[in-house]
Amino acid sequence: MKLPSIKIKLPKLKIYGIDVIKNALFFAFYISMTLFIIAFIIAPSVKIFKNEKNSYFLSKQEFDNTKQNYQHILEQLTKLQNQNQQILNAFKRNFNENNFKLFAKNYMNIIKITKQKTIPYKNQFAKTSYMITAQIKSPKNFYDFINNIKNYKNIIRVYFPIDFEKSNKEINLTFKIETYRLLTAKAEEKAH
């Protein structure tokens, strides 16, 4: 069976030699093609571009905020470090008995320093106890010693037991001190 052939013959309308109907069809096709390209190529591209642009600016803003926050915290840290330099250094140093004797010489005559034990303190610190046997001329020497211990290069706590015993013109004094040091800090023995 032979299929009937369909022949579409466009009517011809010419104005000044231009085929108006053919050109109108080309124009219509052009519009359709443009709409098709916009719908399936340009619009998705614009969407991807917009999404990426938005997320870029969001990230940039977040980065700027984080950087500002970082700078702020860094400033605070530097300020804290500068304000507490003496304390921070004191926590890093090892206790040196000879140096301590030299410091205490202004207040008492240290006869003996006996190291007792070292135990961890608050996870980050090591606490070492020493028993000090010394002689003082008056209790005021001991008060002055305690007043000035805050300027010493180590962190030292004067602790119990404290034993005062009168002996001729002097007072025999036995007391405990505790020194505190950062566990992570490297020993700065050269500082002594």
Binding site: E52, S55, Y56, K67, I87, L88, I146, K150, V158, Y159
Partner: protein, 173 residues
């Protein structure tokens, strides 16, 4: 048959059709170029976005480290201040104890512990001790025991053991 005009070649497309096809080609090229331009731009945005995100992660790690350092410094400062206050309290404890001793009584020795105080001294009479020294000791400590030993000159050596109830308390603070 002879013709005076040469035969014209028949064109595959007519002039106006060619124009339309060129116009189509240029338009499609421009549309696709524009779409490609947007995609390339989007790619660079995405790349920079990744860099920013990585930098944010790095900065956040640094911030955590700085915050930890800050907390450590604050902790060290607090411990230092606490120790200095406690040193001062110990000094005041001894000062207060020595201020407690009335004139007629002589102090020979005292042993100050975290929750107790042992005093050795000499008193002219038991009454002087009981009247002048015992009341302030009793007001500070929960338990006070005193033992007297008579000396050849009639005065008394005494040993006073004073204790606090709570283990966390310290004498005279």
């Amino acid at each position: 048959m002879y013709s005076f005009t040469k035969p014209k070649k028949k064109q595959f497309f007519k002039e106006d059709t060619k124009l339309w096809l060129v116009f189509y080609a240029i338009s499609v090229f421009l549309y696709v170029s524009f779409a490609l331009f947007l995609l390339v731009k989007a790619y660079f945005y995405s790349k920079n976005n990744q860099i920013y995100n990585q930098n944010i992660i790095t900065l956040n790690t640094k911030i955590s480290s700085l915050t930890l350092q800050k907390e450590n410094i604050k902790l060290q400062k607090t411990i230092y201040e606490d120790i200095m206050v406690k040193n001062s309290l110990i000094k005041d404890s001894i000062k207060n104890l020595l201020d407690l001793i009335p004139d007629p009584i002589t102090l020979n020795k005292f042993l100050l512990k975290k929750d107790s105080l042992i005093i050795y001294g000499i008193t002219p009479t038991k009454d002087v001790y009981n009247l002048l020294m015992l009341p302030p000791l009793e007001s500070i400590f929960t338990k006070t025991d005193t033992t007297f030993y008579q000396m050849p000159n009639g005065w008394y050596k005494f040993k006073s053991i004073n204790k606090l109830k709570g283990n966390n308390e310290t004498a005279f603070n």
